[in-house]
């Protein structure tokens, strides 16, 4: 276990080395790719020079996606494959480096935050061009945010631009400068500009005016009808089979030697629906990289490693947990449910359950040791925000039994099946855990918990439900006892999980969308989260968030279980392969990836 820790720490160090050194100016035009639309005279092209191992041009990388991306349109994309593909095709103003988890200048070469925290002034890089060669100007930026904010478009991320109920306003100052005006200070600072793809106005304005913007960017879109500011651009889509992207010759980054990035000519996304089939494809050499590996498949690949490298990037941001149904029960709620909730509402009961669960066994049996036991919501993969004071005290059946006895439960003996826990009224403690049937890991966790709780006399049934049915029960009908789920945060910042911790949040799973906080401690979390949202000082925010974590651990609305490591693999021939624990795990530095052996690759 400790060995793994050390390994992941090392990995982190490697990743940190690749951190950008900042931007430097690169004067002049790209030599090999004369633009179709020339830059106005006197305007220079401001290019980012990226540190790191220099690669060689050419070649192709093939990578599998578990499903077809649903769209190329950053406005409507909601699924992981789409986001992964879009991240390689689009650029944002300010970017969060997935390895360092810090912001870095991207399309905006610099930014300034006013002292009151309400005004963000961003300076746009000069001489930028879309992947079709058309120059980028401030109108594109304004168009982008107009579109994202337009309610009729239904951009999936629109809510992130609404602060304190008021949308951000965007104002152009001059050709290179834009000002974002907030209604209230926003703690995340410039991080909020990450992932807002700057859209090509020249291609989308007509469709926008026709009100069909949400429909554009379908997979069948012709390559010349789609453009972005990412390292790759659309080349070809074959329904059900693959999506091929090609090098964007106008990309705005170079390596240290001044060679225009990206190195690769092509990146091919194959659609391989099952995780096991993906492993097979990787093992047979048909794909070059693999990510989102389960621990079992990871060890199979590691055992048989031939011409590929497997990497354990350490715990990611995914936290898995068990939660109880603490929703307000209506008048018509069945007596049985009322009784069960009587137990669930008892904090001693919840804590007893938590103490009875063997998290080390979960890490070992579910993740084959490639994960971390969790006691609080922030994983070791997010060292900046984790509350170091919170530690997993270990499993204790004795303490668990004591707590239960203190809460009025007692043990009786049943002939078959061992001791049985009954509540104060003599009713046996029996409840169900629902899990998603499509996630084998969580199903396994539930089965382990079932066995753990049997030790303290609780009879638990595991009910695997297909994902939609599960979500429907948790968020709509609210007919369930307990549930095992997991959340993988997009970003290390606490704000990415705001919806989970706020009592009014739709993902406040144990009791979502409350009008008023149901308990004092939930009210306190609300207050703390609101405070950190507007605090501008990181140290202060951390202090507030630490307290949130403490409260969660104290009251156990969710019983945190474990966090899996990010497990990936790549062919030995791939250069600059440095997986991150933030999505996209292996493609975050796609512009720097290269094929060491170009000739061999060309033949394939």
């Amino acid at each position: 276990m400790s060995e793994l820790r050390a390994k992941s720490a090392q990995m982190g160090a490697v990743v940190a080395l690749v951190a950008i050194l900042g931007c430097s100016l690169f004067v002049g035009r790209a030599k090999s790719f004369p633009p179709q639309h020339s830059v106005p005279a006197g305007e220079k092209e401001e290019i980012v020079r990226v540190a790191g191992e220099g690669g060689r041009r050419g070649g192709r990388i093939v990578i599998a996606l578990k499903a077809e991306p649903k769209t190329l349109n950053p406005l409507t994309a909601a699924d992981t494959p789409s986001r992964e593909v879009i991240s390689t095709m689009q650029g944002d103003l300010v970017h969060i480096n997935r390895a360092t988890q810090l912001t870095e200048p991207a399309l905006a070469k610099s930014w300034k935050i006013s002292p009151d925290g309400l005004q963000y002034t961003l300076t746009l890089r000069q001489g930028l061009k879309f992947s079709d060669g058309r120059p980028v100007d401030m109108e594109d930026v304004l168009f982008t945010f107009r579109v994202y904010l337009d309610e009729a478009v239904h951009a999936t991320q629109r809510d992130l631009l609404i602060i304190d109920g008021k949308p951000i306003t965007v104002r152009k100052v001059d050709a290179q400068t834009v000002v974002f005006q907030l209604a209230k200070p926003y703690g995340v600072g410039e991080r909020m500009f990450d992932s807002w793809s700057i859209l090509p106005r020249h291609l989308l304005e007509t469709t926008y005016k026709e009100g069909k913007l949400a429909q554009s960017g379908a997979l069948g879109t012709a390559a010349n009808q789609w453009a972005g500011l990412g390292p790759f651009r659309l080349k070809e889509y074959v329904a059900g089979q693959r999506l091929v992207l090609e090098r964007n010759p106008y990309y705005w980054k170079t390596d240290e030697q001044g060679n225009r990035l990206p190195y690769l000519d092509e990146i091919v996304f194959l659609f391989v629906p099952s995780a096991d089939a993906q492993v097979l494809r990787f093992q047979s050499g048909e794909t070059d990289m693999i990510s989102r590996l389960g621990a079992e498949n990871f060890s199979v690949l590691s055992r048989q490693a031939r011409d590929y490298t497997m990497a354990d990037a350490g715990p990611g941001l995914e936290y898995n947990f068990l939660f109880f149904n603490l929703n307000e029960l209506g008048e018509k709620a069945p007596a049985e449910m009322v009784r069960k909730q009587g137990w669930f509402r008892s904090e001693n009961f919840r804590q007893a359950v938590s103490l009875a669960i063997d998290r080390e066994a979960i890490v070992r049996l579910v993740y084959q040791g490639r994960g971390a036991a969790l006691w609080g919501p922030v994983t070791p993969g997010n060292p900046r925000w984790a509350n170091a004071a919170i530690r997993y005290p270990g499993r204790s059946l004795d303490k668990s039994r004591q707590l239960l006895a203190g809460a009025g439960f007692r043990l009786t003996n049943d002939e078959i099946g061992g001791p049985k826990l009954v509540d104060a009224e003599g009713k046996p403690v029996e409840f169900s855990i629902i899990t998603s049937s499509s996630n084998a890991d969580r199903a396994k966790m539930a089965a382990l918990i079932q066995d753990d709780l049997k030790q303290v006399g609780m009879r638990v049934q595991v009910v695997p439900l297909e994902l939609r049915s599960l979500i429907d029960r948790v968020t709509q009908t609210k007919e369930y006892d307990t549930c095992v789920l997991g959340i993988a945060s997009f970003d290390a910042d606490p704000n990415s999980d705001l919806n989970v911790w706020l009592s009014s949040g739709g993902m406040h799973l144990w009791n979502p969308s409350q009008k008023h906080a149901a308990t004092n401690w939930e009210a306190e979390i609300d207050r703390l989260m609101e405070q950190q949202l507007t605090a501008t000082n990181t140290v202060e925010r951390k202090k507030l968030y630490d307290r949130v974590q403490e409260i969660l651990v104290e009251h156990h609305p969710m019983i945190f279980l474990a966090s899996p490591d990010i497990l990936v693999g790549a062919k030995k021939g791939i250069g600059n392969f440095h997986p991150a624990v933030l999505e996209p795990y292996v493609l975050w530095n796609v512009e720097q990836l290269y094929q060491r052996n170009g000739a061999e690759n060309a033949r394939r």
């Binding site: 649903k70 909601a78 991320q157 693959r242 048909e286 979500i471 029960r473 919806n499």
Partner: protein
């Protein structure tokens, strides 16, 4: 004949109507809808979700949605996919084509194998060769298809002889015509093997039973007595005499062309209708599913119809009866 055609058309229309109504009803009964998964996406707020739901009218009563869909269908529109945000029909069609390539090959192959093997084992019925064959098919029958498919894939990886899934290699577009065909054939081998292995035992049993029956009919015994060659007897007399049930079976295999290969397609990541529909079902992508179901139903109908036509054409008794009266 015309009457018969009209009747058949009526059946088909009834079937399609029934299937579409019930598919709609089931999908309404099944909990959750496409937009539910977004509930677990912390970036999307509840208001956004309800706006989307209203936009796509998933909250409207079923009858209203069905009516709208049916009207659109009459205009040749199968509806819109929630997930892909594009019309369903072209998406279905590309995938159906891939599926047909796979199942078509497998169906031809399985019949080419089952007919001679079935005739052969019917001729040798009761003898060791026939017994051995029937045990072999029995074993094939109880191996779960899923295990078979995975086993073949593992073999492919270990040996490196065959591709481990998909329909074509990555560089397919750059290949010459010969290479293209070779590549496609190599990719077809594994999924076709799985399909053939799962269909062969049952078909073989039917062929054997039908031919054995025909061989026992008295007129064939008489023909044997007249000194007709064994081969001629088997293929010119016995097989046509056994045609009736086999044609019906052939209709079944035509009908299953679109729906019979889900498992092989998913495991071998064949870009066909199966994985697409499964994804649609799990994601509650309503119109994709209903479109797919309708398409498979259409094949079912067409398969039965083709069988009837073949039967009419192949069975002299039916033709003579119809002509005489």
């Amino acid at each position: 004949m015309m009457r018969f055609l009209l009747r058949r058309l009526g059946h088909a229309a009834f079937l399609l109507l029934g299937v579409s109504v019930l598919a709609f009803a089931f999908s309404t009964l099944a909990p959750g809808n496409y937009f539910d998964e977004m509930r677990l996406n912390p970036q999307i707020s509840a208001e956004r979700l309800s706006a989307l739901r209203a936009d796509y009218q998933v909250d409207r009563p079923m009858a209203v949605r069905y009516a709208r869909w049916a009207v659109a269908l009459l205009h040749g529109d199968l509806g819109f996919s929630f997930a892909y945000n594009t019309p369903v029909a072209p998406m279905l069609w590309t995938r159906a084509r891939n599926t047909l390539l796979l199942t078509g090959t497998a169906t031809v192959l399985v019949w080419m194998l089952a007919l001679p093997l079935g005739v052969w084992s019917a001729e040798k019925r009761g003898r060791p060769a026939d017994v051995a064959l029937s045990w072999a098919t029995a074993v094939l029958l109880i191996v779960p298809d899923l295990a078979l498919a995975l086993g073949l894939l593992v073999l492919a990886v270990r040996s490196g002889w065959l591709p481990t899934g998909g329909m074509v290699s990555v560089g397919f577009d750059g290949f010459s015509a010969g290479q293209k065909i070779r590549d496609l054939v190599l990719h077809l081998v594994l999924p076709v093997t799985v399909l053939v292995a799962s269909a062969l035992p049952v078909l073989l049993r039917h062929v054997r039973a039908a031919v054995a029956e025909a061989l026992e009919a008295s007129f064939l015994r008489a023909a044997e007595g007249h000194g007709i060659s064994r081969r001629r007897l088997l293929y010119r007399y016995a097989l046509p005499a056994a045609a009736h049930p086999l044609i019906a079976l052939f209709g079944f295999s035509l009908g299953a062309l679109l729906s019979g290969s889900l498992l092989a397609e998913v495991v071998m990541s064949w870009p066909g209708l199966g994985p697409f529909l499964l994804e649609g079902i799990l994601a509650r992508d309503l119109y994709v599913v209903i479109g797919g179901v309708l398409l498979s139903t259409l094949f079912l109908v067409a398969g039965n119809f083709a069988a009837d036509l073949l039967l009419y054409w192949a069975d002299p008794r039916i033709r003579a009866e119809a002509a005489e009266r």
